[in-house]
Amino acid sequence: MYDVLLDAVDTAEREGISLGELALRTEAATGIRTREEVEAGLRRALHVMQHAVERGLVGDLHSVSGLVGGDAHRLAHARGPLANTIFTDALAAALAVQEVNAAMGVIVAAPTAGGAGVLPGTLLGIAKRHPVTEEALVRALATAGLIGAVVAVRASLSGAEGGCQAETGAAAGMAAGAGVELLGGTPRQAMHAVALTMQGTLGLVCDPLGGLVEVPCVYRNATGAAMALAGIEMALAGVEFPIPVDEVIDTMGQIGREMDVRYRETAGGGLAATPTGRRLAKERLVQLKPKKGAGG
């Protein structure tokens, strides 16, 4: 896959194809998997995402610790000024997937399990109110995969390495680029959407209570989807971010490398280290202590 996103955009423009189409052709050209195999894998991922959103919206799930659950349902039935819009649908879907994840349900790590709500939230939020084909959604996942591959090579996709900017931040960048193409935008607009979105998640720390993928991870997937929608809207309107996207991605990697270990999935800083964060983790983890004979 590509390690310079601008190169991918230049190539896609020259050939008159989308980034998603370019991603599928590039992967097929490696000879490891056929195009059909890759599309089938992405289609399966799409179906798992759709199922996870539906499952989470029911609202009866509880996480392993009991700290999260039911908020996706709450948001899907919101009556606020933004109710019944792509915005609220995307946030609800992102929460739904993360609530399924926290309850040990089946999700697609995209790029990780902790950030798994952002991409389906954004794309399926759009698809709910915009007529898009399954084929277009599969191609959008390929777009997201291409963007994620660039981030994996240039920066990181791991909260333990780069903080939450590398998980929900990267996922938001992927969702923004994919969302632009799903809505008929150009590869260049998709690229600017990635930059416009990821500039807004730079420096985001990974600070889960008790080290569990629950608080704030579930909510951060919803705000990640919101960030992606902001990037999509700006890019489709013709806004261009002045710093090239690859440099924005490099900046995320650099900030991650300089980030104190307390902010990299160790539960040593941020919200995890607040008095309430510590108390909740202690209470819930005590409750989770395995029974005699079953653990230690």
Binding site: E27, G41, V108, A109, P111, L157, E161, G211
Partner: protein, 221 residues
């Protein structure tokens, strides 16, 4: 080379690609080393696996792997109960392994009838794993390939015999590694393969006079 399906995937039971999906894959490899569901397993959890493993379902994920469940199998949630029902006793213990280990590491000792195995495996991010030791031999197994694990006397010519049998069977080698605990003792041969060898080829390898054990670990990723 990063594949689109590495980024958009794996499909997995939550909540953590490293603490759940990766842990399950390590369990699957332990199972494969004894050729089926073990009767007994001692699962020692190290580092982050010990600290946050229960909340991430690491115990259930490893138990599920020992039962043959894959990371996307919803039965992982109930695997501890299923293990009891299947006659598999699992003892979990928190530990600090000696030496340099990834924070997400487990040592699993499994017994299935007469067969026994000990492995050390780490979950290194996004569901990817590496097995770093089998029965005390240093190894490096990713689980991305079908892997042949053979223990043989440390005498000249074994690699040629093994590779020859695989070549005759038209099995392509992706990686190979031989290591030993001491000169003239036993050596472990790890061949990562593009596809599984035939039963006939395995029988031929088993019949080699210097071969002590041969195990095939199917790909788990």
């Amino acid at each position: 080379m990063v594949s689109l399906l590495d980024i958009i995937g794996p499909v997995m039971v939550g909540p953590s690609s490293s603490h759940t999906a990766g842990a399950c894959r390590i369990g699957l490899i332990a199972r494969a080393l004894v050729g089926g569901t073990p009767d007994h397993a001692l699962v020692e959890l190290h580092g982050s696996f010990a600290r946050t493993g229960v909340g991430h379902g690491t115990d259930r994920a490893i138990a599920g792997g020992l039962l043959g469940y894959h990371p996307d199998d919803e039965r992982l949630r109930e695997s501890l109960e299923a293990a009891t029902a299947a006659g598999l006793t699992i003892e979990f213990k928190n530990t600090t392994l000696r030496g340099d280990h990834h924070p997400n590491t487990t040592r699993i000792t499994v017994r299935c009838g007469e067969r026994q195995a000990v492995l050390v495996g780490s979950s290194i991010g996004a569901g990817r794993i590496v097995i770093t030791a089998i029965d005390g031999f240093p190894v490096e197994i990713s689980g991305v390939y079908t892997t042949l694990v053979a223990v043989a006397k440390d005498v000249p010519g074994i690699v040629a015999s093994l590779a020859g049998a695989l070549a005759e069977d038209e099995v392509n080698l992706a990686t190979m590694r031989v290591s030993r605990r001491q000169k003239g003792g036993d050596a472990i041969h790890i061949y990562e393969l593009d596809h599984a060898p035939s039963d006939a080829a395995l029988a031929q390898i088993r019949a080699l006079p210097v071969i002590k054990t041969v195990r095939v670990v199917e790909r788990v990723a």
